[in-house]
Symmetry: C2
């Protein structure tokens, strides 16, 4: 299986005053991320507020990206909801749009479900999608979803459907878990942070799908270049990690959006959909100051 190798951004979703998706701005940002060095995009992830977007909105926005000329072969949209029929609808749509893959959450409402139930959910889904072009990337983010995908379930799915369940995004932040996943043969693993790129590369990770890539794509892409060339740049590595650390402490989604709003002068970036709430003005100002003071960080010209 040919993976997208490099940095992939789970691109953010800006909103108009009435909280509809600001589509033009959304598309501009997506194009900018690819131009800055992202090898792909993972629209409708946690960072993109996917679970606050309606099914129809998600499908329309994906189509708009492709209409704009973005290669669907660079897109791995999130398609996982809690119910099989709804997940089926989004997943089949993504395949029919020619997307490189679909990133699929486990069904996350019922908690403490058995491994067999998780396995059966994905097996049923794959059977129902019924498209040879389906490539599933499992999406493991237990601290948000409340339900994870244990490595044993991932391995079993990959073994049963080797051409279909091709990889996983591990957003757990638990490096031991990531190492278990990296030990699965021919399995594509995307850690969710750019702070483990050096060891990840050594262990066979395909790059990363990182929220912070929304603001810092070029530096992460350059770092990956130095790693792949066999000479990781230690200073760049530190700078990239420092930026990540600052953002992670601040409530990542509203924090990133407030920075984009300041840098672009476009208030649509500052909005979030409930149940999230925007950063308070004082907190936003302090964060912008802290970012400006980071050594080596150059605010991107968005």
């Amino acid at each position: 299986m040919q993976a997208l190798r490099g940095v992939i951004a789970p691109n953010l979703t800006p909103f108009n005053d009435d909280l509809t998706i600001a589509e033009g701005l959304y598309l501009d940002h997506a194009e900018w991320l690819l131009a800055e060095g992202c090898v792909g995009l993972a629209p409708f992830g946690t960072t993109g507020e996917a679970l606050s977007l309606g099914i129809e909105e998600r499908m329309a926005t994906l189509e708009a990206m492709i209409d704009r000329g973005i290669d669907p072969g660079r897109l791995i949209p999130g398609t996982g909801l809690t119910a099989l029929p709804d997940t089926l609808r989004l997943t089949r749509h993504a395949v029919d749009q020619g997307c490189a893959g679909a990133m699929i959450l486990p069904p996350f409402y019922y908690k403490g479900v058995p491994d067999d139930g998780l396995y059966d959910y994905f097996a049923w889904l794959i059977d129902a999608v019924d498209r040879p072009g389906l490539r599933v990337y499992l999406y493991h983010i237990p601290q948000v979803a409340g339900v994870g995908i244990p490595p044993a379930v991932a391995a079993r799915l990959h073994k049963e459907f080797p051409e279909t369940v091709v990889g996983i995004k591990d957003s757990s932040g638990d490096w031991e878990n990531t190492k278990h996943l990296l030990a699965i043969e021919d399995f594509i693993v995307y850690p969710a942070q750019e702070t483990t790129l050096v060891e990840g590369h050594r262990l066979g990770a395909a790059g990363c799908i990182s929220a912070t890539a929304n603001l810092n794509p070029a530096a992460i892409a350059r770092l990956i270049e130095t790693i792949e060339a066999g000479a990781p740049d230690p200073q760049l590595n530190e700078e990239v990690a420092a930026f990540r650390k600052l953002l992670a402490g601040a409530g990542p989604i509203p924090a990133q959006k407030t920075l984009l709003a300041r840098w672009t002068g476009d208030a649509r970036w500052a909005r979030v959909r409930p149940p999230l709430a925007p950063l308070a003005a004082a907190q936003a100002a302090r964060l912008a100051d802290e970012v400006a003071a980071l050594p080596g960080y150059r605010r991107p010209a968005a």
Copy 2:
């Protein structure tokens, strides 16, 4: 606000071999529950595997109930999903069908969200539904959803929208929380268990919306009659509680479905949708024996 007072069943959802909803059996069960003494039904709750049912399935099944002749004034369907547009669609549909209310989960994907974000979600929803007939029952089940509705948020919503946010179902099992809710003036509170009916009645609860009512509706209804007549039947109270306790320990949804399958001889009752898994045969047999041995419990003629 005129509440449905008594026992309300969050009715179970049977499935065909291919895991589509067994509609005829679903409707038969719904009618049976009302005939046995349920004052209303709460279709598409946690017990009804609502979060494993698709949006279209939920709307079609609600319409089928009403087409069958069930009074929508007795129905409080669940309509809460994680995203405002999807929740809006189900909620507006329920209002347009003339339902007594809509039982609405908080947006449950993003965790640790601020109270203001929860409030804004419901305020935005009420504005967008834009129907004077909307009656919202908040649905508090934090141990499953991973996100609850704090009493302060419930009180604020009821104060701001007194004719619309009329009540809450408290499935937390935390009686201290229920008492906080019962202290909100003119607020309809449904505890989720039939084991607190006596004290609930004293404190002004409207009855209960209990999963176990799917199997034990007549006994719970009779108990409520004795409580409302001022002379709670202590033996009936104990029997009802013993049945509840037995079921609660067994993984409530698969356990109830396996009992219904045995009692009716209809295998469609035993099926659950992934990620849930059915009870193992030995466990199901043991449960059936334990129920049969309960003093005073009469298996309903379904």
